[in-house]
Every structure is written in C-alpha cells, then in structure tokens.
Subunit: 210 residues, 2 copies
DNA sequence: TATTTTCCGTTGCAAAAGCAACACATTATG
DNA sequence: CATAATGTGTTGCTTTTGCAACGGAAAATA
C-alpha cells in the first residue's frame, strides 16, 4: 500500500546530480544548521547522529527530533512559526548534504533525476514526518514521567522487534526529549527497576512486562 | 512563496465530481469517524466543529486536534501507529464529506478535476498539518501549566491579530488539549488573572502583557 | 417551563515533579 | 597521562500538579 522509496538510490542520485548541493563534515557538538524562516533547506544526514534542538526563552532545552543515518531534515519538513531558536547539533561526527530550494514542490530547470525522484516522493516523505510527529505528541501528552518512559521504551521495542534495545540518547538528552527534569526522570527510572518493569544495563533497556 | 490553495473551489469540485464520496450530517456529540489502520479516508468538515480525540488505556482523554469549518482530516493526515482509540467527535452539528482512497497519491481512473486538484495540493496540505503538529509539540513541551496556557493564548492572539480572543474550547476541553488536570488548570488560570497576565470575560481572554 | 445534564469555579490533601547540590564515573582533550 | 568536561546516580526540600469532592451556574432536553 505504501509507496516504497529507496533512500540509498535517492542519495546517490542527489550526490551525482544537482549543482546547488553542498557536502559538509562536522565534528561532535558543532552546529550543523540553524532553521531560518522562509528558507527551504533540505538536509540529508549521510553519516552520524544529530538532534534538532530548541532553546526557549527560559533557557529550557528541548530535543525536538533525533536524526540518525539517512535522516532527512531541514525547513522543508518544518515550517517555522516559533520565535525560539532551532538548531541541529551534531551528536557525533557527521556528514551532511545540503540543498536549498526556491520552491520545493517544483522541479528545477535542469529536470535532473534527483529532482524528479524528490518531487515524486516528497509527499510520502512528509507523511512519514507526520507519523513521527503524531507519535511524539502521543508521548508528550502522557501525564506522568513513568508513562512517558514506558511509552518511549515500548516504541523503541516495537521498532527493534525486541524487548531489549539501546537508548539512542544519553540519559541527560532523554530527559530533554521527554520534556522532564533529569533528576526526576532518574528517580522514576530507579522505581521502574525496583517495580520490575525494566532492567537497565548501561545504555541497554530490557522490558520485563508484555 | 507558499502555494495558495482555494479550499472553497476545491470543495465545490469535490462535491460535484468523484463518485465515491459521501456527505453526512451529524448532531452534537455524535462520532463522526473512527480512525482505522490501513484505511485512507479524507474528510472535509463543511460546517460545524469537531475534535480528534484519543482515549488511552488509563481512560485519559486527550484532544489531539480541533477542527472548524473547512478543516481536512482523516487517516490521510494521520498514519496510525497507536493502539489507542482515535475518534472524531462532533462538538456541534456538523456536515462532513467523506472519501476513501486506495492510494492517495495517485489519481483516480476517471481523472476528474477534484482528484487533479487534490494530488497537486496534497503535499502542501500535509505540510500545513506538519506546521500544526510542530506548534502543538512546542506547546506540549512547555514545562508548566502556566507556560502552556500562556503559550496557547499567545498563539490564538497571533492568529486573530488581537490581544482579545474567544477560546475555541470549553475549559474542560482546553485541559484535555493541553494535557493537564482541569482543576489544576483552573487554579493556574485564577493565578494568571491575579498576577495581571490575563483578563477573562466568559469565553473571552484578553492578554495584558506584550 | 421544569428537570436533568454538563460545565465552572473552588478547595484540602496527596502524589509527583522540579530544583539544587553533591560525589563519583566516564569520556574528551591538552 | 593528567586534567578538564560531561554524564550518571542520588538525595532533601520546595513547588507544582493531580485527585476527589462539592456547590452553584449555565445549557440542554423533556
């Protein structure tokens, strides 16, 4: 039913065609890009991990999205309506392809293969974003830190098809992702262990309930 | 820069073409539709108000989205990954157009005008959803009830281009939308009045800070 | 219009979450 | 390798939030 989309081929096309692209390498903790109003940038994470981070006026930090290899991001997927700063921060050494559009929904004059593939698949790619966003909203609407943690773990477990999985975040960052206080989250994590819901070995979580 | 899209004409095209459509009328509190996995339904709210509501396993109710006249909704805009029930509930008498797709991104055999307009504009329509979802996430990541209220009010104020505006929700529903306890929200609302942040006359809020 | 239902506003109390501080472990870096 | 920076784990205390309950207002309904 879903339009299958070969991201590997897409990236190859991208790398081999379009003139306006740019490839850059970043080291850990560098700012990959800042989201800017009325710019349409499409970015592809060729390698590494990065987070989309928002800083609000109170200085609170929120991890809005987490990107790993082959993730697509940029203003193309985030029409900006906030005044807060939106940064993409490299969590490890990263390689990123950049492309800036005038109008993302129209092909370039050259009519290159990349653009053709892109405009054909963009709707589906955006729809994938919508799915992610809806899952995130479901997490954030949970009323307690415990439910947020369990909800997030269950999501990771479903993705990995296993009750045992690595956290893609440090615990500090996980708190920023779930939008809760870190020490309160650590306390709840301890209680989840004591109550027999989870086991935790380093960065690995094992879900003990079905 | 943005593709402008005439929703009124679109609806007229819809009403006049495509065979598979259905028009239904609902009274207040009726269930307009239930979201079903692997179905692609597109719904247009011709008149009235409705909410997309999720009930979780603890019985908590969350208002996921609020729809008013001309809103588009349905599984087309919500790839389902949750096990929770997703219902659209009529908040007033409603008139709704329904259409079910096999594949939303491809035109129907008849190649009717509606379908042409739809497939041309769907990416932009989905992108509008993304914008809404990102705003909602920004609200939900705020750490306190106070910040959620102020954030939501400031959003409504920006939309209406005025510091004075009607709430589209009852206060009970507003709490379900912000994902907080109603009585705690009422308490915070009182404090916001006492601290001179807002005035509240019936359903109308006036923001007193710039 | 009388009656039922829903919503608003409030409160006391209990539970959860946030804040701040600290020691220790682990990981980067000169 | 020494040192600095960052992340983990913990705790006491304060603040915020949730829960439950209730009376009255407003709205829907018979």
């Amino acid at each position: 039913m879903n339009t299958k989309f070969d991201i590997e081929n897409f990236i190859t096309d991208f790398a081999n065609s379009c003139q306006k692209k740019q490839k850059k390498v970043f080291s850990k903790n560098e700012v990959v890009t800042t989201y800017i109003k009325n710019r349409n940038q499409l970015c592809i994470l060729l390698d590494g991990n990065a987070d989309l981070v928002r800083y609000d006026l109170n200085g609170n930090r929120t991890i809005v999205e987490h990107f790993s290899k082959n993730a697509l991001f940029g203003e193309v997927f985030y029409t900006i309506t906030t005044n807060n700063e939106l940064l993409v921060e490299a969590k490890s050494n990263c390689t990123v392809l950049f492309y800036i559009y005038d109008d993302i929904f129209h092909k370039c004059r050259n009519n290159c293969k990349f653009h053709q593939t892109l405009s054909e698949n963009l709707p589906q790619l955006i729809l994938n974003k919508v799915t992610d966003l809806n899952m995130r909203i479901e997490l954030l609407t949970k009323r307690s830190t415990r439910d947020k943690l369990l909800g997030y773990f269950s999501l990771l477990s479903t993705r990995k098809l296993s009750t045992s999985f690595e956290l893609p975040f440090s615990l500090t960052d996980l708190a920023d992702y779930l939008s809760v206080d870190r020490s309160a989250m650590m306390r709840e994590l301890k209680l989840l262990k004591e109550d027999g819901f989870i086991e935790k070995i380093g960065n690995r979580i094992i879900l003990l309930y079905k």
